[in-house]
Symmetry: C2
Subunit: 338 residues, 2 copies
């Protein structure tokens, strides 16, 4: 193997010796201090390049009491529904945003059986800040961490906000209003909704938006069934709606997966989309556009949400002012199903 692979990683000290300066000066150059003579800067940089020096993160963190790393916390129960692209997109948004900074991203799956392990990890000086995402996105049980370490939540608090937590959310109410109005404009009058769980803001708010648009148009809000955001639950909800044997000419589903579950049931019943029943979903899943007919839906960028969360957290960590709430807008995408 020639030179042993275990050759010691170069240290600040070695760079200093090589460049003929002190450790302190090399440290200044590495950290971009303004008060170093240009000639020394280039000498140091040359030495760094020659030795292929990389600062040791652990040492730096020990000395500076900062870790340059943030954690994305996902409750374990949530991780089981990981199949939902939702989280993947958020992670992507966070990761890509952080890639441009010096922060490192850690994924923490919070065991519900042993919440203290997570809490200790988070408060034990291992991270500079935390991002918390839950499928029960109103779950702010990590709120108290905020006293110790900056925390940004994905999704607004389900309960009355104390005005102290930081979060990024999409405007679910406005999105649902837009989706429902779209169906009304298309001339539909018997518009059902397949709602999500009322204990999640995403479920609650989308239902609220539907109610608001319906009421505003003087339409009846009796046609509602609940699912759990899974395709199967969407199918079951659709079955229950059809079983009511009342006029029904459109469905607003609280997410695309449930909408596609409904598709199957509608097809089984010999009804056609959108002629008999128009369908609008929510989330703009990749598969909605490949379905037949392509699904009309509300688009909201989860990568954008992840990026916004990361951005807000970095601001907090670095002591810059940041808004408590950031609300992202959604966009109607009209396709063949409505």
């Amino acid at each position: 193997m020639g030179l042993n692979g275990a050759a010691q990683a170069p240290t600040l000290e070695m760079v200093a010796a090589r460049a003929g300066v002190s450790r302190a000066t090399v440290s200044r150059v590495v950290n971009g201090s303004p008060k170093v003579k240009p000639e020394l800067i280039s000498a140091v940089n040359a030495a760094i390049a020659e030795l292929n020096y990389v600062p040791n993160r652990a040492a730096r963190s020990l000395a500076s009491r900062r870790t340059e790393s943030i954690a994305l916390v996902i409750p374990e129960s949530t991780s089981r529904v990981f199949a939902d692209p939702f989280f993947a997109m958020i992670i992507q948004g966070v990761a890509v945003h952080l890639a441009a900074t010096d922060y490192t991203l850690g994924i923490v799956v919070a065991s519900e059986a042993n919440p203290d392990k997570t809490r200790r990890y988070l408060t034990g000086g291992n991270i500079d800040g935390a991002l918390v995402v839950s499928h029960h996105s109103g779950d702010h049980s990590y709120e108290r961490l905020g006293r110790t370490v900056p925390v940004v939540f994905g999704g607004r608090p389900l309960h009355a906000d104390d005005g102290e937590s930081y979060y990024v959310d999409v405007d679910n109410i406005a999105g649902a209003v837009t989706a429902t109005r779209h169906l009304i404009e298309r001339g539909r009058r018997h518009i059902a909704t397949i709602a999500g769980p009322a204990d999640m803001p995403a479920g609650f708010d989308r239902e609220l938006g539907w109610r608001r648009a319906m009421t505003e148009a003087g339409l009846d809000t009796g046609l509602i069934e609940w699912g759990d955001f899974s395709p199967a639950s969407g199918a079951m909800a659709m079955r229950r709606l059809l079983a009511r044997k009342v006029p029904l000419d459109a469905v607003f589903a609280a997410n695309d997966q449930m909408a596609l579950g409904a598709y199957a049931v509608i097809a089984e019943s010999g009804l056609s989309i959108p002629d008999d029943i128009a369908v609008v979903g929510y989330d703009d899943d990749a598969l909605g556009s490949a379905a037949a007919p392509a699904l009309t839906t509300m688009h909201q960028s989860m990568t954008e949400l992840g990026a916004a969360m990361a951005e807000k957290l970095v601001k907090l960590i670095e002591g810059e002012p940041a808004e408590h709430a950031t609300i992202l807008q959604t966009r109607l995408i009209v396709r063949g199903s409505s």
Copy 2:
């Protein structure tokens, strides 16, 4: 605020003082050394509990030259297709497996514009080992890292394996053979395939499995079109197959997303599934089961793959022997589409 939130985190030293022992003894207890008197162990544990002590990761890592953290590397270009539940499931598998250990999981999005940044991070003593997943899953461009730090790949090397890299893969060839044979057993004879890119093992191997099963049954292997694993590409491939105007009674798609893309085109053409054309997919996406008719597919657990990767890496890090290759089996799930 009463007691300041910035109250110093307790240190080994403080625990030692509290328990009336030396730092070394506390360290032994924390690290489970066998040679400590039981009475001291409990005294120390009591002190730890009272002070709510958590070891400082940076200091520990500095002193021990181990970081207790591993990185999951995802090339940036791959991260754009993050919408594919594929990665999310792998991350989940890795994260859940690691949650039971002391290792921390970091997500690294490798910028292709600046590969050195990633390479330096990985070799700079920041991690104990790395997991590399790429959509181009044959991409072992991080292979050389293996000399510096243990690496486990997701997916086998695309090119001739030098027998030195460690990887976990699913048995794509066997899975495709199984899927194709299933169609043959159902009496289909004009079986097309919508293959994935031939420069990815998942694409190449599934195509190979289809060819193998077809040849073995004496059937023609001319009915092939390629996609890129996206629903839209599946739809286009199906369109090209139908445009050939040759007998066609079944399609094996290299993944479910392309299969569902094909669904739409088959429906448009007024053909029925499975009566006119039977369809089998691959991956067991959540949506396949909600489609109408429900999609027959090959199931392979990506969470299992992630867990297997993590397990293998931990073994390598801890110096235990580990197989170079681990091949996971797939399972046929028969539903309404075939």
